[in-house]
Subunit: 269 residues, 2 copies
Amino acid sequence: MNQQASYWIGALNTPRSCLNCQLGHLCLPGQSTFEQLARIEVAARQQITYNSKATIFSQWSPFTSFFIVKSGSVKTVHVNRRGDEKVLGFYLPSEMFGLEGVVNGTYGCTATAMERSTICRLNFEKLQELSCRLPSMQQWLLKSFSRELNNVERMTRWLSYSTAEERVVGFLLDISNRHRKRHLIENQFRLGMARTDIANYLGLALETVSRILTRLQKENAIRICGRHVELLDIELLRNRVSGENLQQMAAGTFDSASGQPHQSFVQIG
Amino acid sequence: MNQQASYWIGALNTPRSCLNCQLGHLCLPGQSTFEQLARIEVAARQQITYNSKATIFSQWSPFTSFFIVKSGSVKTVHVNRRGDEKVLGFYLPSEMFGLEGVVNGTYGCTATAMERSTICRLNFEKLQELSCRLPSMQQWLLKSFSRELNNVERMTRWLSYSTAEERVVGFLLDISNRHRKRHLIENQFRLGMARTDIANYLGLALETVSRILTRLQKENAIRICGRHVELLDIELLRNRVSGENLQQMAAGTFDSASGQPHQSFVQIG
DNA sequence: CGTCTCGTTGAACTAGTTCAAGTACCGTGG
DNA sequence: CCACGGTACTTGAACTAGTTCAACGAGACG
Protein backbone atom coordinates (compact mmCIF):
# COMPACT_ATOMS: atom_id res chain seq x y z
CA MET A 1 0.00 0.00 0.00
CA ASN A 2 1.48 3.33 -1.02
CA GLN A 3 1.91 6.32 1.25
CA GLN A 4 -0.78 8.38 -0.43
CA ALA A 5 -3.45 5.75 0.08
CA SER A 6 -2.58 5.17 3.70
CA TYR A 7 -2.90 8.90 4.26
CA TRP A 8 -6.45 8.88 3.01
CA ILE A 9 -7.33 5.79 4.97
CA GLY A 10 -6.03 7.51 8.08
CA ALA A 11 -8.28 10.44 7.38
CA LEU A 12 -11.29 8.17 7.08
CA ASN A 13 -10.57 5.99 10.06
CA THR A 14 -12.48 8.01 12.67
CA PRO A 15 -15.85 7.41 14.27
CA ARG A 16 -17.25 10.61 12.77
CA SER A 17 -16.10 9.76 9.24
CA CYS A 18 -18.52 9.47 6.33
CA LEU A 19 -17.25 5.92 5.94
CA ASN A 20 -18.72 4.94 9.29
CA CYS A 21 -21.88 7.04 8.95
CA GLN A 22 -25.12 5.19 9.61
CA LEU A 23 -26.76 6.94 6.70
CA GLY A 24 -24.85 4.65 4.34
CA HIS A 25 -23.70 7.53 2.14
CA LEU A 26 -27.21 8.48 1.12
CA CYS A 27 -25.97 12.04 0.94
CA LEU A 28 -22.64 11.96 -0.92
CA PRO A 29 -21.85 11.65 -4.63
CA GLY A 30 -22.88 8.22 -5.85
CA GLN A 31 -19.60 7.21 -7.41
CA SER A 32 -17.30 8.58 -4.72
CA THR A 33 -13.95 6.92 -4.63
CA PHE A 34 -12.22 6.38 -1.36
CA GLU A 35 -9.86 9.24 -2.11
CA GLN A 36 -12.55 11.69 -3.15
CA LEU A 37 -14.43 10.95 0.01
CA ALA A 38 -11.39 11.60 2.16
CA ARG A 39 -10.68 14.85 0.32
CA ILE A 40 -14.18 16.09 0.97
CA GLU A 41 -13.94 15.18 4.62
CA VAL A 42 -10.55 16.68 5.23
CA ALA A 43 -11.05 19.84 3.22
CA ALA A 44 -14.69 20.72 3.43
CA ARG A 45 -16.64 18.84 6.07
CA GLN A 46 -17.33 19.70 9.65
CA GLN A 47 -19.73 18.01 12.06
CA ILE A 48 -21.66 20.03 14.63
CA THR A 49 -24.30 19.12 17.20
CA TYR A 50 -27.08 21.61 17.91
CA ASN A 51 -29.52 21.68 20.81
CA SER A 52 -33.24 21.81 20.24
CA LYS A 53 -34.33 25.22 18.91
CA ALA A 54 -30.74 26.25 18.19
CA THR A 55 -30.19 28.30 15.04
CA ILE A 56 -27.97 26.68 12.41
CA PHE A 57 -27.89 29.72 10.15
CA SER A 58 -29.93 32.91 9.91
CA GLN A 59 -31.67 34.56 7.03
CA TRP A 60 -29.50 37.30 5.48
CA SER A 61 -26.31 36.03 7.17
CA PRO A 62 -23.36 35.35 4.80
CA PHE A 63 -23.52 32.09 2.92
CA THR A 64 -20.53 29.85 3.50
CA SER A 65 -21.72 26.26 3.55
CA PHE A 66 -24.60 24.02 2.93
CA PHE A 67 -25.71 21.36 5.37
CA ILE A 68 -26.77 17.75 5.62
CA VAL A 69 -28.73 16.35 8.56
CA LYS A 70 -26.89 13.46 10.18
CA SER A 71 -29.29 12.91 13.07
CA GLY A 72 -32.28 14.82 14.39
CA SER A 73 -34.41 17.18 12.33
CA VAL A 74 -34.36 20.74 11.07
CA LYS A 75 -36.87 23.28 9.85
CA THR A 76 -36.23 26.26 7.58
CA VAL A 77 -38.26 29.44 7.98
CA HIS A 78 -38.46 32.57 5.86
CA VAL A 79 -39.49 35.95 7.27
CA ASN A 80 -40.82 38.55 4.86
CA ARG A 81 -40.90 42.34 5.13
CA ARG A 82 -44.29 42.30 6.79
CA GLY A 83 -42.82 40.01 9.45
CA ASP A 84 -44.87 36.96 8.43
CA GLU A 85 -43.06 33.71 8.99
CA LYS A 86 -43.30 30.95 6.42
CA VAL A 87 -42.03 27.43 7.06
CA LEU A 88 -40.23 26.35 3.89
CA GLY A 89 -39.25 22.81 4.73
CA PHE A 90 -38.51 20.08 7.23
CA TYR A 91 -35.29 18.12 6.87
CA LEU A 92 -34.60 14.61 8.10
CA PRO A 93 -31.30 12.67 8.21
CA SER A 94 -29.47 12.47 4.83
CA GLU A 95 -31.31 15.54 3.54
CA MET A 96 -29.54 18.67 2.37
CA PHE A 97 -30.42 22.30 3.03
CA GLY A 98 -29.03 25.82 2.59
CA LEU A 99 -28.51 25.58 -1.19
CA GLU A 100 -30.53 28.69 -1.94
CA GLY A 101 -27.76 30.86 -0.44
CA VAL A 102 -25.26 30.58 -3.31
CA VAL A 103 -26.66 33.21 -5.60
CA ASN A 104 -26.93 36.17 -3.22
CA GLY A 105 -24.12 35.15 -0.91
CA THR A 106 -26.59 35.20 1.96
CA TYR A 107 -28.96 32.57 3.30
CA GLY A 108 -32.53 32.94 2.14
CA CYS A 109 -34.02 31.53 5.31
CA THR A 110 -33.30 30.64 8.91
CA ALA A 111 -32.59 27.01 9.79
CA THR A 112 -33.44 25.76 13.28
CA ALA A 113 -32.90 22.37 14.92
CA MET A 114 -36.26 20.89 15.94
CA GLU A 115 -34.57 18.57 18.44
CA ARG A 116 -30.98 17.83 19.46
CA SER A 117 -29.39 17.27 16.04
CA THR A 118 -26.04 16.54 14.47
CA ILE A 119 -25.41 18.35 11.22
CA CYS A 120 -22.65 18.00 8.60
CA ARG A 121 -21.51 21.35 7.35
CA LEU A 122 -19.99 21.38 3.84
CA ASN A 123 -17.92 24.43 2.95
CA PHE A 124 -19.12 25.57 -0.44
CA GLU A 125 -15.97 27.35 -1.56
CA LYS A 126 -13.75 24.38 -0.81
CA LEU A 127 -16.19 22.01 -2.42
CA GLN A 128 -16.18 24.18 -5.49
CA GLU A 129 -12.38 24.12 -5.60
CA LEU A 130 -12.43 20.35 -5.32
CA SER A 131 -14.98 20.06 -8.08
CA CYS A 132 -12.67 21.83 -10.52
CA ARG A 133 -10.39 18.81 -10.19
CA LEU A 134 -13.09 16.16 -9.80
CA PRO A 135 -15.65 16.28 -12.61
CA SER A 136 -17.93 13.81 -10.83
CA MET A 137 -18.06 16.21 -7.91
CA GLN A 138 -19.10 19.03 -10.18
CA GLN A 139 -21.79 16.82 -11.65
CA TRP A 140 -22.97 16.00 -8.15
CA LEU A 141 -23.16 19.64 -7.14
CA LEU A 142 -25.18 20.60 -10.18
CA LYS A 143 -27.45 17.62 -9.71
CA SER A 144 -28.01 18.51 -6.08
CA PHE A 145 -29.21 21.92 -7.15
CA SER A 146 -31.37 20.58 -9.90
CA ARG A 147 -32.90 18.03 -7.54
CA GLU A 148 -33.74 20.67 -5.00
CA LEU A 149 -35.23 22.76 -7.79
CA ASN A 150 -37.45 19.84 -8.74
CA ASN A 151 -38.51 19.33 -5.14
CA VAL A 152 -39.49 22.94 -4.66
CA GLU A 153 -41.34 23.02 -7.97
CA ARG A 154 -43.20 19.87 -7.01
CA MET A 155 -44.14 21.48 -3.73
CA THR A 156 -45.40 24.57 -5.53
CA ARG A 157 -47.60 22.53 -7.84
CA TRP A 158 -48.78 20.47 -4.92
CA LEU A 159 -49.86 23.52 -2.96
CA SER A 160 -51.55 25.03 -5.94
CA TYR A 161 -53.95 22.26 -6.78
CA SER A 162 -54.68 20.35 -3.68
CA THR A 163 -57.38 20.55 -1.04
CA ALA A 164 -56.64 20.80 2.67
CA GLU A 165 -57.13 17.06 3.14
CA GLU A 166 -54.85 16.19 0.23
CA ARG A 167 -52.18 18.41 1.71
CA VAL A 168 -52.32 16.85 5.15
CA VAL A 169 -52.48 13.30 3.82
CA GLY A 170 -49.72 14.07 1.34
CA PHE A 171 -47.60 15.45 4.13
CA LEU A 172 -48.01 12.29 6.22
CA LEU A 173 -47.24 10.00 3.28
CA ASP A 174 -44.21 12.10 2.39
CA ILE A 175 -42.77 11.85 5.88
CA SER A 176 -43.50 8.12 5.77
CA ASN A 177 -41.63 7.75 2.46
CA ARG A 178 -38.67 9.61 3.79
CA HIS A 179 -38.52 7.28 6.76
CA ARG A 180 -38.70 4.26 4.48
CA LYS A 181 -35.81 5.53 2.39
CA ARG A 182 -33.69 5.37 5.50
CA HIS A 183 -34.95 1.84 6.17
CA LEU A 184 -36.99 2.88 9.20
CA ILE A 185 -40.51 1.78 10.04
CA GLU A 186 -42.66 3.63 7.55
CA ASN A 187 -46.09 3.47 9.14
CA GLN A 188 -45.22 4.65 12.60
CA PHE A 189 -43.24 7.75 13.48
CA ARG A 190 -43.01 10.83 15.61
CA LEU A 191 -43.60 14.26 14.10
CA GLY A 192 -40.87 16.58 15.26
CA MET A 193 -42.88 19.71 14.61
CA ALA A 194 -45.91 21.44 16.14
CA ARG A 195 -49.29 21.67 14.41
CA THR A 196 -48.64 25.37 13.80
CA ASP A 197 -45.54 24.51 11.80
CA ILE A 198 -47.33 21.87 9.75
CA ALA A 199 -50.19 24.27 9.08
CA ASN A 200 -47.85 27.07 8.11
CA TYR A 201 -45.85 24.74 5.87
CA LEU A 202 -49.00 23.51 4.12
CA GLY A 203 -50.57 26.95 3.86
CA LEU A 204 -53.54 26.08 6.11
CA ALA A 205 -54.95 27.27 9.42
CA LEU A 206 -53.76 25.12 12.29
CA GLU A 207 -57.38 24.39 13.21
CA THR A 208 -57.88 22.90 9.77
CA VAL A 209 -54.91 20.58 10.21
CA SER A 210 -56.20 19.50 13.59
CA ARG A 211 -59.71 18.85 12.30
CA ILE A 212 -58.46 16.81 9.35
CA LEU A 213 -56.22 14.68 11.56
CA THR A 214 -59.10 13.85 13.90
CA ARG A 215 -61.35 13.13 10.92
CA LEU A 216 -58.78 10.72 9.49
CA GLN A 217 -58.59 9.02 12.86
CA LYS A 218 -62.39 8.61 12.97
CA GLU A 219 -62.18 6.95 9.56
CA ASN A 220 -59.55 4.56 10.96
CA ALA A 221 -57.03 5.73 8.39
CA ILE A 222 -54.55 6.84 11.02
CA ARG A 223 -54.07 6.76 14.77
CA ILE A 224 -52.73 9.95 16.24
CA CYS A 225 -51.65 10.65 19.78
CA GLY A 226 -50.04 14.04 20.21
CA ARG A 227 -47.08 13.94 17.85
CA HIS A 228 -46.96 10.18 17.52
CA VAL A 229 -48.54 9.04 14.26
CA GLU A 230 -49.49 5.60 13.03
CA LEU A 231 -50.66 5.09 9.45
CA LEU A 232 -53.25 2.30 9.65
CA ASP A 233 -54.51 2.24 6.06
CA ILE A 234 -51.87 3.49 3.68
CA GLU A 235 -53.86 2.41 0.62
CA LEU A 236 -56.83 4.50 1.72
CA LEU A 237 -54.51 7.43 2.30
CA ARG A 238 -52.85 7.06 -1.09
CA ASN A 239 -56.21 7.10 -2.81
CA ARG A 240 -56.91 10.48 -1.34
CA VAL A 241 -53.99 12.11 -3.14
CA SER A 242 -54.17 10.55 -6.58
CA GLY A 243 -53.04 13.58 -8.53
CA GLU A 244 -49.39 14.20 -7.98
CA ASN A 245 -46.42 11.93 -7.76
CA LEU A 246 -46.22 11.51 -4.02
CA GLN A 247 -43.01 9.57 -3.93
CA GLN A 248 -41.13 12.72 -3.10
CA MET A 249 -43.51 15.53 -2.46
CA ALA A 250 -41.93 17.89 -0.05
CA ALA A 251 -39.45 20.69 -0.58
CA GLY A 252 -37.37 19.15 2.15
CA THR A 253 -36.99 15.83 0.40
CA PHE A 254 -33.43 15.27 -0.62
CA ASP A 255 -32.00 11.92 -1.48
CA SER A 256 -28.99 11.54 -3.70
CA ALA A 257 -29.59 7.83 -3.92
CA SER A 258 -32.87 8.04 -5.79
CA GLY A 259 -32.61 7.38 -9.48
CA GLN A 260 -29.22 5.77 -9.68
CA PRO A 261 -28.23 2.94 -7.35
CA HIS A 262 -25.23 3.59 -5.17
CA GLN A 263 -22.00 2.03 -6.19
CA SER A 264 -19.62 0.73 -3.58
CA PHE A 265 -16.37 2.47 -2.97
CA VAL A 266 -13.62 1.75 -5.40
CA GLN A 267 -11.04 -0.60 -3.97
CA ILE A 268 -7.55 0.74 -3.63
CA GLY A 269 -4.15 -0.65 -2.71
CA MET B 1 -3.42 41.22 -33.51
CA ASN B 2 -2.48 37.57 -33.11
CA GLN B 3 -4.04 34.68 -34.98
CA GLN B 4 -5.89 33.30 -31.96
CA ALA B 5 -7.66 36.55 -31.30
CA SER B 6 -8.68 37.04 -34.87
CA TYR B 7 -10.20 33.55 -34.87
CA TRP B 8 -12.48 34.42 -31.95
CA ILE B 9 -13.38 37.73 -33.48
CA GLY B 10 -14.37 35.91 -36.62
CA ALA B 11 -16.62 33.66 -34.62
CA LEU B 12 -18.34 36.60 -33.02
CA ASN B 13 -18.70 38.69 -36.12
CA THR B 14 -22.10 37.42 -37.22
CA PRO B 15 -25.52 39.03 -36.94
CA ARG B 16 -26.73 36.23 -34.64
CA SER B 17 -23.78 36.52 -32.26
CA CYS B 18 -24.19 37.25 -28.56
CA LEU B 19 -22.00 40.30 -29.17
CA ASN B 20 -24.66 41.84 -31.37
CA CYS B 21 -27.61 40.64 -29.29
CA GLN B 22 -30.11 43.34 -28.35
CA LEU B 23 -30.41 41.89 -24.86
CA GLY B 24 -27.06 43.43 -24.01
CA HIS B 25 -25.75 40.20 -22.51
CA LEU B 26 -28.32 40.15 -19.71
CA CYS B 27 -28.17 36.39 -19.92
CA LEU B 28 -24.48 35.46 -20.02
CA PRO B 29 -21.84 35.28 -17.27
CA GLY B 30 -21.14 38.78 -15.96
CA GLN B 31 -17.38 38.80 -16.42
CA SER B 32 -17.27 37.06 -19.79
CA THR B 33 -14.15 37.76 -21.74
CA PHE B 34 -14.31 38.01 -25.47
CA GLU B 35 -12.72 34.60 -25.79
CA GLN B 36 -15.01 32.87 -23.31
CA LEU B 37 -17.99 34.27 -25.12
CA ALA B 38 -16.78 32.98 -28.45
CA ARG B 39 -16.12 29.55 -26.98
CA ILE B 40 -19.65 29.33 -25.66
CA GLU B 41 -21.05 30.37 -28.99
CA VAL B 42 -19.00 28.07 -31.10
CA ALA B 43 -19.26 25.04 -28.84
CA ALA B 44 -22.58 25.19 -27.09
CA ARG B 45 -25.01 27.70 -28.49
CA GLN B 46 -27.64 27.31 -31.14
CA GLN B 47 -30.36 29.74 -32.11
CA ILE B 48 -33.79 28.51 -33.14
CA THR B 49 -37.01 30.27 -34.08
CA TYR B 50 -40.31 28.68 -33.07
CA ASN B 51 -43.80 29.49 -34.29
CA SER B 52 -46.58 30.33 -31.87
CA LYS B 53 -47.72 27.26 -29.90
CA ALA B 54 -44.70 25.25 -31.04
CA THR B 55 -43.18 22.91 -28.46
CA ILE B 56 -39.59 23.69 -27.47
CA PHE B 57 -39.21 20.58 -25.34
CA SER B 58 -41.60 18.04 -23.85
CA GLN B 59 -42.00 16.72 -20.34
CA TRP B 60 -40.16 13.39 -19.93
CA SER B 61 -38.07 13.89 -23.08
CA PRO B 62 -34.27 13.57 -22.64
CA PHE B 63 -32.57 16.61 -21.20
CA THR B 64 -29.82 18.00 -23.41
CA SER B 65 -29.86 21.76 -23.13
CA PHE B 66 -31.29 24.65 -21.32
CA PHE B 67 -32.71 27.67 -23.05
CA ILE B 68 -32.74 31.45 -23.03
CA VAL B 69 -35.46 33.51 -24.65
CA LYS B 70 -34.02 35.90 -27.22
CA SER B 71 -37.30 37.28 -28.50
CA GLY B 72 -40.94 36.35 -27.97
CA SER B 73 -42.24 34.53 -24.90
CA VAL B 74 -42.51 31.01 -23.55
CA LYS B 75 -44.63 29.16 -21.01
CA THR B 76 -43.75 25.97 -19.17
CA VAL B 77 -46.47 23.50 -18.20
CA HIS B 78 -46.38 20.39 -16.03
CA VAL B 79 -48.87 17.54 -16.44
CA ASN B 80 -49.44 15.23 -13.48
CA ARG B 81 -50.66 11.66 -13.37
CA ARG B 82 -54.29 12.74 -13.10
CA GLY B 83 -53.78 14.73 -16.30
CA ASP B 84 -54.12 18.12 -14.61
CA GLU B 85 -52.05 20.80 -16.28
CA LYS B 86 -50.20 23.32 -14.16
CA VAL B 87 -48.53 26.40 -15.65
CA LEU B 88 -45.14 26.73 -13.94
CA GLY B 89 -43.82 29.91 -15.45
CA PHE B 90 -43.75 32.48 -18.20
CA TYR B 91 -40.42 33.48 -19.70
CA LEU B 92 -39.55 36.75 -21.41
CA PRO B 93 -36.39 37.71 -23.34
CA SER B 94 -33.13 37.17 -21.39
CA GLU B 95 -34.77 34.63 -19.08
CA MET B 96 -33.56 31.06 -18.74
CA PHE B 97 -35.62 27.89 -18.57
CA GLY B 98 -35.22 24.10 -18.59
CA LEU B 99 -32.80 23.92 -15.65
CA GLU B 100 -34.89 21.42 -13.72
CA GLY B 101 -33.99 18.72 -16.24
CA VAL B 102 -30.42 18.10 -15.09
CA VAL B 103 -31.08 15.76 -12.21
CA ASN B 104 -33.30 13.17 -13.89
CA GLY B 105 -31.91 13.55 -17.38
CA THR B 106 -35.42 14.38 -18.56
CA TYR B 107 -37.32 17.64 -18.71
CA GLY B 108 -39.76 18.17 -15.87
CA CYS B 109 -42.22 20.16 -17.92
CA THR B 110 -43.23 21.08 -21.44
CA ALA B 111 -42.11 24.42 -22.85
CA THR B 112 -44.24 26.11 -25.49
CA ALA B 113 -43.74 29.31 -27.44
CA MET B 114 -46.60 31.72 -26.74
CA GLU B 115 -45.88 33.65 -29.92
CA ARG B 116 -43.28 33.48 -32.71
CA SER B 117 -40.08 33.34 -30.62
CA THR B 118 -36.36 33.03 -31.08
CA ILE B 119 -34.65 30.90 -28.47
CA CYS B 120 -30.97 30.31 -27.66
CA ARG B 121 -30.28 26.69 -26.90
CA LEU B 122 -27.27 26.00 -24.68
CA ASN B 123 -25.96 22.46 -24.72
CA PHE B 124 -25.51 21.45 -21.11
CA GLU B 125 -22.83 18.82 -21.61
CA LYS B 126 -20.62 21.12 -23.63
CA LEU B 127 -21.16 23.97 -21.20
CA GLN B 128 -20.13 21.63 -18.41
CA GLU B 129 -16.96 20.69 -20.24
CA LEU B 130 -16.16 24.35 -20.79
CA SER B 131 -16.76 25.12 -17.15
CA CYS B 132 -14.07 22.65 -16.09
CA ARG B 133 -11.59 24.97 -17.77
CA LEU B 134 -13.30 28.25 -16.96
CA PRO B 135 -14.00 28.62 -13.23
CA SER B 136 -16.11 31.74 -13.77
CA MET B 137 -18.34 29.66 -15.99
CA GLN B 138 -18.80 27.04 -13.30
CA GLN B 139 -19.65 29.79 -10.84
CA TRP B 140 -22.16 31.15 -13.29
CA LEU B 141 -23.82 27.76 -13.78
CA LEU B 142 -24.18 27.17 -10.04
CA LYS B 143 -25.47 30.67 -9.50
CA SER B 144 -27.99 30.23 -12.26
CA PHE B 145 -29.36 27.20 -10.46
CA SER B 146 -29.36 28.87 -7.10
CA ARG B 147 -31.12 31.89 -8.54
CA GLU B 148 -33.81 29.76 -10.08
CA LEU B 149 -34.18 27.96 -6.76
CA ASN B 150 -34.72 31.28 -5.04
CA ASN B 151 -37.26 32.32 -7.61
CA VAL B 152 -39.28 29.14 -7.24
CA GLU B 153 -39.14 29.34 -3.45
CA ARG B 154 -40.27 32.92 -3.56
CA MET B 155 -43.16 31.86 -5.78
CA THR B 156 -44.12 29.12 -3.34
CA ARG B 157 -44.19 31.51 -0.40
CA TRP B 158 -46.05 34.01 -2.49
CA LEU B 159 -48.77 31.54 -3.38
CA SER B 160 -49.08 30.34 0.18
CA TYR B 161 -49.85 33.61 1.88
CA SER B 162 -51.44 35.89 -0.59
CA THR B 163 -55.02 36.62 -1.46
CA ALA B 164 -56.39 36.45 -4.99
CA GLU B 165 -56.00 40.20 -5.44
CA GLU B 166 -52.42 40.20 -4.19
CA ARG B 167 -51.61 37.42 -6.65
CA VAL B 168 -53.06 39.22 -9.64
CA VAL B 169 -51.54 42.58 -8.70
CA GLY B 170 -48.22 40.89 -7.93
CA PHE B 171 -48.31 39.20 -11.28
CA LEU B 172 -48.85 42.48 -13.12
CA LEU B 173 -46.08 44.25 -11.19
CA ASP B 174 -43.75 41.35 -11.80
CA ILE B 175 -44.27 41.45 -15.54
CA SER B 176 -43.80 45.21 -15.39
CA ASN B 177 -40.48 44.82 -13.53
CA ARG B 178 -39.25 42.32 -16.04
CA HIS B 179 -40.04 44.73 -18.86
CA ARG B 180 -38.20 47.52 -17.07
CA LYS B 181 -35.11 45.38 -16.66
CA ARG B 182 -34.94 45.17 -20.42
CA HIS B 183 -35.35 48.94 -20.61
CA LEU B 184 -38.82 48.70 -22.11
CA ILE B 185 -41.84 50.78 -21.12
CA GLU B 186 -42.81 49.40 -17.74
CA ASN B 187 -46.36 50.60 -17.36
CA GLN B 188 -47.76 49.49 -20.68
CA PHE B 189 -47.44 46.02 -22.18
CA ARG B 190 -49.18 43.14 -23.85
CA LEU B 191 -49.81 39.92 -21.96
CA GLY B 192 -48.82 37.02 -24.16
CA MET B 193 -51.00 34.53 -22.31
CA ALA B 194 -54.71 33.80 -21.96
CA ARG B 195 -56.67 34.41 -18.73
CA THR B 196 -56.81 30.65 -18.20
CA ASP B 197 -53.03 30.47 -18.15
CA ILE B 198 -52.72 33.37 -15.70
CA ALA B 199 -55.36 31.81 -13.45
CA ASN B 200 -53.71 28.41 -13.60
CA TYR B 201 -50.30 29.92 -12.89
CA LEU B 202 -51.63 31.86 -9.91
CA GLY B 203 -53.74 28.98 -8.60
CA LEU B 204 -57.05 30.79 -9.10
CA ALA B 205 -60.23 30.29 -11.10
CA LEU B 206 -60.14 32.20 -14.35
CA GLU B 207 -63.35 34.00 -13.36
CA THR B 208 -61.60 35.33 -10.27
CA VAL B 209 -58.77 36.75 -12.35
CA SER B 210 -61.23 38.37 -14.70
CA ARG B 211 -63.26 39.88 -11.84
CA ILE B 212 -60.18 41.29 -10.13
CA LEU B 213 -58.89 42.85 -13.33
CA THR B 214 -62.20 44.61 -13.94
CA ARG B 215 -62.33 45.72 -10.31
CA LEU B 216 -58.82 47.21 -10.57
CA GLN B 217 -59.95 49.03 -13.70
CA LYS B 218 -62.98 50.49 -11.90
CA GLU B 219 -60.60 51.78 -9.22
CA ASN B 220 -58.54 53.43 -11.96
CA ALA B 221 -55.47 51.43 -10.95
CA ILE B 222 -55.11 49.86 -14.39
CA ARG B 223 -56.61 50.08 -17.86
CA ILE B 224 -57.15 46.76 -19.53
CA CYS B 225 -58.30 46.00 -23.03
CA GLY B 226 -58.13 42.35 -23.91
CA ARG B 227 -54.49 41.45 -23.44
CA HIS B 228 -53.20 45.00 -23.52
CA VAL B 229 -52.51 46.31 -20.02
CA GLU B 230 -51.70 49.79 -18.79
CA LEU B 231 -50.68 50.34 -15.17
CA LEU B 232 -52.12 53.75 -14.24
CA ASP B 233 -51.30 53.90 -10.54
CA ILE B 234 -48.26 51.79 -9.73
CA GLU B 235 -48.03 53.16 -6.17
CA LEU B 236 -51.59 52.06 -5.43
CA LEU B 237 -50.81 48.65 -6.86
CA ARG B 238 -47.61 48.33 -4.83
CA ASN B 239 -49.49 49.08 -1.64
CA ARG B 240 -51.75 46.13 -2.29
CA VAL B 241 -48.89 43.62 -2.06
CA SER B 242 -46.92 44.92 0.88
CA GLY B 243 -45.82 41.56 2.21
CA GLU B 244 -43.28 39.97 -0.05
CA ASN B 245 -40.32 41.36 -1.92
CA LEU B 246 -41.93 42.00 -5.25
CA GLN B 247 -38.84 43.00 -7.17
CA GLN B 248 -38.60 39.52 -8.58
CA MET B 249 -41.63 37.54 -7.65
CA ALA B 250 -42.25 35.01 -10.33
CA ALA B 251 -40.75 31.61 -10.92
CA GLY B 252 -40.07 32.69 -14.44
CA THR B 253 -37.95 35.64 -13.45
CA PHE B 254 -34.40 35.15 -14.47
CA ASP B 255 -31.91 37.92 -14.75
CA SER B 256 -28.19 37.39 -14.46
CA ALA B 257 -27.64 41.12 -14.31
CA SER B 258 -29.37 41.67 -10.99
CA GLY B 259 -27.07 42.04 -8.03
CA GLN B 260 -23.74 42.59 -9.71
CA PRO B 261 -23.32 45.22 -12.41
CA HIS B 262 -22.17 43.93 -15.76
CA GLN B 263 -18.60 44.46 -16.69
CA SER B 264 -17.69 45.32 -20.25
CA PHE B 265 -15.85 42.82 -22.35
CA VAL B 266 -12.14 42.64 -21.89
CA GLN B 267 -10.27 44.42 -24.64
CA ILE B 268 -7.93 42.32 -26.71
CA GLY B 269 -5.40 42.91 -29.49
C1' DC C 1 -72.64 32.66 -42.07
C1' DG C 2 -72.09 29.60 -38.20
C1' DT C 3 -68.69 27.85 -34.97
C1' DC C 4 -65.13 28.21 -31.70
C1' DT C 5 -62.27 30.24 -28.41
C1' DC C 6 -61.74 33.90 -25.12
C1' DG C 7 -63.45 36.85 -21.79
C1' DT C 8 -67.06 38.93 -18.68
C1' DT C 9 -70.68 38.92 -15.33
C1' DG C 10 -74.22 37.13 -12.06
C1' DA C 11 -75.90 34.00 -8.39
C1' DA C 12 -75.52 30.00 -5.44
C1' DC C 13 -72.56 27.38 -2.82
C1' DT C 14 -68.75 25.61 0.05
C1' DA C 15 -64.11 24.82 1.77
C1' DG C 16 -61.48 26.74 4.78
C1' DT C 17 -60.65 30.74 7.96
C1' DT C 18 -61.37 33.30 12.02
C1' DC C 19 -62.91 33.93 16.53
C1' DA C 20 -63.73 31.94 20.85
C1' DA C 21 -63.88 28.66 24.47
C1' DG C 22 -62.22 24.72 26.60
C1' DT C 23 -59.02 20.73 27.53
C1' DA C 24 -54.61 18.26 28.04
C1' DC C 25 -49.95 18.41 28.91
C1' DC C 26 -45.44 19.76 30.80
C1' DG C 27 -41.95 21.83 33.37
C1' DT C 28 -41.06 24.97 37.46
C1' DG C 29 -41.10 26.41 41.93
C1' DG C 30 -43.07 26.36 46.27
C1' DC D 1 -46.81 16.62 46.61
C1' DC D 2 -49.85 20.19 44.38
C1' DA D 3 -50.53 24.82 42.43
C1' DC D 4 -49.26 27.70 38.72
C1' DG D 5 -48.60 29.41 34.17
C1' DG D 6 -47.61 28.61 29.69
C1' DT D 7 -47.88 26.15 25.40
C1' DA D 8 -49.95 22.80 22.41
C1' DC D 9 -54.01 20.98 20.72
C1' DT D 10 -59.09 20.29 19.99
C1' DT D 11 -63.76 21.55 19.02
C1' DG D 12 -67.72 24.54 17.88
C1' DA D 13 -70.07 28.31 15.41
C1' DA D 14 -70.11 32.28 12.36
C1' DC D 15 -68.31 34.17 8.40
C1' DT D 16 -66.19 35.05 3.88
C1' DA D 17 -63.11 34.64 -0.05
C1' DG D 18 -63.06 32.29 -3.79
C1' DT D 19 -65.14 28.46 -6.62
C1' DT D 20 -68.52 26.55 -9.52
C1' DC D 21 -72.21 26.68 -12.61
C1' DA D 22 -74.48 29.05 -16.09
C1' DA D 23 -75.56 32.55 -19.38
C1' DC D 24 -74.01 35.87 -22.53
C1' DG D 25 -71.06 39.04 -25.61
C1' DA D 26 -67.20 39.87 -28.73
C1' DG D 27 -63.68 38.89 -31.84
C1' DA D 28 -61.36 35.30 -35.02
C1' DC D 29 -61.42 32.08 -38.60
C1' DG D 30 -62.74 28.95 -41.97
